[in-house]
Amino acid sequence: MTPQLLRLKEGDDVLIAARPIAAGEILRVGGAEVPAADDIPTGFKVAARDLAVGDIVHRLGMPIGRVTAPVGAGEVVHVHNLESQYLRTHRRGEA
């Protein structure tokens, strides 16, 4: 049986979707139950707790970037709310 969300390391700020999750499916995050706002593909991240602008996000205990917009627990964490502390992430369609 495929689990829904993986916590790679205790204390991580994000959980990883271990399988595709459909919008509306109930996510169990930090003891709370939150419906998924959108479809979440395998390998994507959701916030393990509420995140504020400027927070440093940890995955597997390692910092992977800085929060650029508030994120509620269970919401997807990606390029729209997280940026690199090193190099800008280049997106398709950008110069």
């Binding site: 049986m1 495929t2 689990p3 993986l6 790679l8 990883i16 979707a17 271990a18 399988r19 595709p20 593909p41 395998t42 390998g43 994507f44 991240k45 995955r59 597997l60 390692m62 910092p63 992977i64 970037g65 964490v77 990606h78 390029v79 997280l82 940026e83 690199s84 502390q85 090193y86 190099l87 800008r88 992430t89 280049h90 997106r91 398709r92």
Partner: protein, 408 residues
Amino acid sequence: MRGYPRSDGRKGIRNVIVVAYLVECAHHVAGKIAAAFDDDVQVIGFGGCYPNDYAAMMLRRLTTHPNVGGALLVSLGCEGFDRAGLADHIAASGRPVATLVIQQEHGTRSTIERGRAWVARAREQLAAVPQVPVELSDLVVGTICGGSDGTSGITANPAVGIAFDGLVAAGGTAIFEETGELIGCEYMMRDRAVTPELGAELVGAVRKAEAYYTTLGHGSFAPGNADGGLTTIEEKSLGAYSKSGSAPIAGLLKPGDRAPAPGLYLLDVVPDGEVRWGFPNINDNAEAAELMACGAHLILFTTGRGSVVGSAISPLVKVCANPQTYRAMAEDMDVDAGAVLEGRATLGQVGAEILELVRRVATGEQTASEAMGHQEFVLTYKAFEPVGPSCLPLTVVRPGQTMGAVTG
């Protein structure tokens, strides 16, 4: 495992003839020569007309790679490549070699004809080479990730790390690379270095990569990585880093350097000096070529999005991180590491499966990309300074092998 003994003490797990074009203008002719034969005659080469020390070094290393039994050089005639120097280097290794200059052979058709005749004779010669036993301690295995996604760092990459730990424990040599995709992991690597001086060099190599990519304007991060759920270069790095396993880091290599002792090495692929000639590695096969130039007999290639490439010279073992990708592209994959996500296998089981596959491929079993004829190869302009004295602290020499990293 059985392989092909070479005059420098190394052993090949394949016995291919390479047809090497020395400028793009000779590429078509080289391809037509090779096309007359089976998959054991492979095309490599350098497209540039103007000489480059790095490219010349790379072709010296690759034409005398342990998996290569002989080489045919195809020159147009007016390009800058030192074809005589390359031919002498190959001849000194005891391998059959010939050079055809298209402008002296009266053009395309006659060069193809003469090239095919030479290759046919060389293949007969190579078929007579007796095989010798090969152990894991004889092998150099590289790893690359290509088309990473959010699953790569959870399944395929740590599974390769477990296989690397097993290989190193058995006395083999393992090489991970792509310093631009280790940004954010520099201090963890430093703490694994066998000496503090090497640790400082590892941090320096990542700093160099960061500066290089900053000048270029963006990191080693493709739009497809974000489509697959990776958000930042440091998140991609974290996943890539897990391919290195947990062995101590024994040294820092640059393209073409041979590991002086068994163990785990980092390959620095970012050019030295000012930013010239564009992106450090224009695609995954440029990295594969550099691992092969360091002697990699085979390469563990992890993918989440689904890469299909293979390589000339050294087999690529495809370790698929994402179970959905595996189901969609199973014919291109060798290992279903995404099974870990679905509870069908543990990381340890997939790591053991990868190491077992290394043994089988080293015994001659074809990988998925080999079976489908994939033989991609790319070589571009680059520039490197030799590694510093702190980079290779170990000088244990394996029986029959030359001491120290090969230079020049």
